[in-house]
């Protein structure tokens, strides 16, 4: 295990990232003002690596995933840079980014049934998507490819001519994964892929996602609210709060030794088999139209300092690799005098609860 890990680490160092996001912002315009759903997010993803994106609902996880794929609703605006295979996909023409989707970028959704046409056989779904990106393939070649992808997901070839409704929930999600991977994209976003599934099926899907890097060498951005899934299926984790990634690093490092109070509180509030006492984070994520000044977590933070309420925290290197933005970690020399005093916070009541 440890050898494998260090291997993976050295690989990560040596290889160029597949996708590299720099200061990405995605804002929605509303009558109340702009919702800053994603507000300055940067991360890298190495080939075959899985990055887990966790956080409470309403912190911008899904928006970030869709923003990377270019699947944003009308009225949303994005900027920043996302480098993928030497090109910035945010500044691409819509036609080019459309061509990229499916063949190079894949997406797995939460509700598979809503993404499949109930009147089309599975074979037709595969033909449609493969043909679109590789028109030169013959019908037999397409079938070959599709069956290979299905087989890896544990779906027998006898079901190739079935309709979506003939599959159970877990099978449908496997189907979606097979369809997302059949073109062998180098980067896939999975948005809460197991939320609608039963416990045992969820575990099966997590296992499949975990095996992805072995079978397809695909980089995966796994969006979930379940820290347990991150621990089991991801190499690295990015903790998102109020539109920003507050801490990222290797899963083992971050979960064993969380630097950001939000990461720590999130882990503590999760009810697991080892839970002996109930913990929770008071209050709710802020309104992203008008987020708090300084660190966005400071109204809920048990260790907030005076500086947290006034100045944005600086994004710095974590002690054991990765990045974190929290004044508690540093940098010391940028904290103004008196900034380390305990912040007097307003008491959070049920009225502010999530």
């Amino acid at each position: 295990m440890s050898i494998e890990m260090s291997n993976a680490m050295s690989l990560e160092m040596s290889r160029e990232p597949v996708i590299s996001a720099r200061d990405v912002r995605v804002w929605y315009g509303t009558t109340r003002g702009a919702i800053r759903a994603v507000d300055g997010v940067s991360f890298d993803l190495a080939p075959g690596e899985t990055l887990g994106l966790v956080g409470e609902s309403g912190c911008g996880k899904s928006t970030l995933g869709r923003g990377l794929m270019g699947l944003l609703p009308k009225g949303a605006k994005r900027d920043g840079e996302v480098w993928f295979e030497g090109k910035d996909i945010l500044s691409m023409r819509p036609k080019d980014s459309y061509r990229l989707r499916g063949s190079h970028l894949g997406m797995i959704f939460q509700e598979p049934l809503t993404r499949l046409n109930p009147l089309m056989r599975i074979s037709d779904h595969f033909q449609e998507s493969i043909k679109q990106h590789d028109p030169s393939l013959t019908k037999d070649e397409i079938k070959q490819r599709a069956l290979d992808a299905l087989r890896l997901m544990g779906i027998p070839p006898t079901r190739y001519r079935s309709y979506p409704h003939e599959f159970s929930g877990g099978m449908r999600q496997r189907l979606m994964i097979a369809m997302a991977l059949v073109l062998k994209p180098s980067f896939v976003v999975a948005d809460e892929p197991t939320t609608a599934l039963d416990v045992l099926v969820e575990a099966q899907i997590v296992q499949i996602l975990n095996d992805l890097r072995r079978n397809f060498n695909t980089s995966l951005l796994l969006i979930t609210h379940n820290v347990g899934i991150v621990a089991e299926a991801c190499d690295r984790v990015a903790v998102m709060y109020a539109g920003r990634i507050v801490e990222q690093g290797r899963v083992a490092d971050v979960f064993e030794n969380p630097q950001h109070p939000y990461t720590r509180e999130l882990l503590r509030s999760t009810i697991s088999l080892r839970t002996t006492g109930l913990n929770f984070i008071p209050g709710a994520p802020p309104d992203l139209v008008d987020p708090p000044d300084g660190c966005r977590f400071h109204p809920r933070c048990p260790e907030a300092m005076a500086v947290c309420a006034t100045r944005n925290p600086v994004n710095i290197e974590r002690p054991r690799g990765g990045r974190v933005e929290c004044w508690l970690v540093g940098p010391e020399d940028e904290i103004p005098p008196g900034g380390k005093q305990r912040l007097k916070q307003e008491e959070l009541t049920v009225a502010d609860e999530a």
Partner: protein, 309 residues
């Protein structure tokens, strides 16, 4: 009280652009006719069946003049007065018929949708059969049957109009009830021990009647046309009982050939305006109440330049 006011203002505050203008224009037009209807005795210079004033007989089919703004018709009646009185008849009939529709259609739909079973099936069949008929024919039939009993009164015409619109209210309320009764809050109401009547009255009613105002206003527009149609055919209200635009149009038909245009133009114009006004209100309401039609208002996003760190 504040709640009621806020609820009434909701269509304005929730709409933007075209939908809001449609609503405002529709309400203004409709309001003018409602004012005419209420204050007809004050606004109209003469009665609707008045052929002389101060002993002087009105001219026969006299052109518009100072005394008679819209002229007079061949029965010596003042066209302006009849047009205004006509608004009163139209509004009376339409309001009454909508009231009957709501009182009959909504509870029927609620009960039928909530209980289901054979009662629902039979009612559905009857209503669909009524719905499938050409509505104008149905109105004719009903006004025939009813005028025999009730005479050519406003009530008879309103009832016959109701008969053709009840199925729509029933259908809409029943269908929303069928889906709403599956909601968890209905089961929750059952779990706190609520009886069927309480569930229908306090839990389902408010959630299923939301589309009724839309159907109401749209039907009102349709009802104006049907009423005029009935009047045109000489059914329903007689010209000595009340002023009715459709009936006046019928009589104006013969005038058209002899160059008397004013007897037909003004009642016709009134019909067109009121129908347009009501339709605009209905469509405007529809946009606010029906969430699938409502377009979320999007504003352009301005992203400020990044702060240098």
């Amino acid at each position: 009280m504040r709640k009621v006011l806020r609820a009434m203002a909701k269509p304005f505050t929730d709409t933007t652009g075209t939908a809001r203008w449609m609503l405002v224009a529709g309400i203004v037009i409709t309001a003018i006719f409602v004012i005419c209807a209420i204050f007809a005795p004050l606004l109209a210079p003469y009665g609707f069946a008045q052929a002389s004033a101060e002993g002087v007989r009105f001219p026969k089919a006299g052109p518009p003049s100072g005394d008679h703004l819209f002229g007079t018709d061949r029965l010596f009646f003042d066209v302006f007065s009849r047009t205004i009185w006509g608004a009163r008849t139209a509004i009376q009939v339409v309001l009454l018929s909508i009231l009957i529709c709501v009182v009959v259609g909504v509870p029927l739909g609620l009960v039928s949708g909530y209980y289901g079973g054979w009662f629902d099936r039979i009612l559905l069949l009857v209503m669909d059969a009524l719905f499938a008929f050409p509505s104008f024919l149905l109105a004719i039939v009903f006004s025939f049957l009813l005028t025999d009993i009730l005479g050519g009164s406003v009530l008879a015409v309103a009832l016959s109009l109701s008969a053709i619109y009840i199925p729509q209210y029933y259908r809409v309320v029943r269908n929303t009830t069928v889906s709403a009764k599956e909601a968890t809050y209905v089961e929750a109401a059952r779990a706190i021990g609520a009886s069927d009547f309480v569930i229908m009255r306090r839990y389902l009613f408010q959630n299923v009647v939301q589309s009724v105002p839309v159907i109401g206003t749209l039907n009102a527009a349709d009802a104006i046309l049907t009423l005029a149609g009935l009047g045109f055919l000489g059914l329903g209200i007689q010209s000595t009982d009340a002023a009715e635009w459709g009936h006046d149009l019928n009589r104006a038909l013969e005038d058209a050939g002899s160059g008397v245009w004013w007897t037909g133009l003004y009642p016709g114009l009134a019909i067109v305006l009121l129908v347009t006004g009501l339709t605009l209100v209905g469509e405007g309401l529809n946009e606010t109440i029906n969430p699938t039609l409502r377009v979320r208002r999007l504003l352009p996003v301005h992203m400020p330049a990044r702060e240098e760190r």
